[in-house]
Amino acid sequence: MPNKGYLVDTSKCIGCRGCVVACKQWNQLPAERTSFKGTYQTVPDLTANNYTIVTFHEYEEDGQIKWYFTKRQCMHCLDPVCLKVCPQKAISKTDTGAVVRDREKCVGCQYCAAACPFHVPRYDKVNDKETKCSLCPERTAEGELPACVKACITGALQYGDRDQLLAIANKRVSELKAEYPNANVYGDKQAGGTNIIYVLADKPEKYGFEEDPKVSIAITAWQDIIQPYFPWLIALTGAVSVFSFFSTRLLGVGKEKAHEGEGIHG
């Protein structure tokens, strides 16, 4: 199965937050109390009850107000770090490349939150679980669109094969270049590539994204080199004990004879 994800074309986003509420509706997440902070962005950050949010970024440049909207949620990395660090193996990839959690297995240790290069997973204190967007695998498996994509009014969200989305994104960026010289595609190579592709009309920092999110080298070394070979230490220990069982028995025969000899002399 090809990798599937969706395209977030921020140049088409009008910041209506339909995706946010549709996500809450489908995932049956309760409302949260928020306060006015001088911005139109109602939900300040991702929370355990908000798997996705729309962020509003306001800038004044050359006497002109620029207002950028973008959607934030799990990026569904091609090579997810959260999957690697999860001690319970509660995070896995579906056959379409969505990174999903197993709620039963999750113990709420928050390792995934600490490792995520995009700072996405959030801790749910009530249920002691880590939460994040799952790209609606139960919907996509039945041929339905993810809840947020279905709700999008302007067509800023498009669900499809990653390769096709990348082609659409590149085409869109070349169209935008005339008016927005800094337009770029985000998610094609960040953190090893993600299934969620963004078309940004300006530099990633202006949308609150990191230009090049990095995965800690300590995590990579531990998870890719040390840990995979750790189980074999158990097997090795077992093999050594088997060896020592036979070797001590064979050597033990000689020792018994030696003891017998000692007895005679003593």
Binding site: C16, R17, G18, V20, V21, A22, K24, Q25, W26, L83, C86, K89, A90, I91, S92, T94, V100, R101, D102, R103, E104, K105, S134, P137, E138, R139, A141, E142, E144, L145, A147, K150, A151, C152, I153, P231, W232, I234, A235, T237, G238, A239, S241, V242, F245
Partner: protein, 179 residues
Amino acid sequence: MKVTRREFLKISGAAVAALPVLGFDLKPAMAEARGFRIKNIKPVPSICPYCGCGCGLVVYAADGKVLSTEGDPDNPINQGSTCAKGASVYQLHDNPRRMPKPLYRAPYSDHWEEKDWDWVFNEIAKRIKKTRDETFITKEKVTTKDETGADKEIEITVNRTDAIATLGGAALERMLSLF
């Protein structure tokens, strides 16, 4: 069962030897136990009650409980999409903060009292009729231009009341959605 030291070592040795054969399968099992709760449930079309667009919604319900409300993909107005308000229609039905019964506060009263729907509907109808009859305007004078471009006052039929605010909701315009 009595296990001598030698037998114990034999058994554990065999178990360790068997482990790599059985497999150290640390591959994560397929996850996300949540199901597709609207499977095989017939969507019932409805109209969003909020703004004047009159977007189509579909309601998935079973056993008297709403499971999900989504945009109606067959509706030409919104083609499956919903804004934040339309997407929130679910909580019109399932919401602990909603009043389960109509509450009525009489003029100059300091408390709310529970009333049944029949009483409320009759009361609303009665008062609307009274206000309408008292303030109904059949004709109104408006200023317009005559052939030469000069202002001219004419009288036209309007048949309306200015005393009741217009309820411009999409629920009133559902005819538009039934193409």
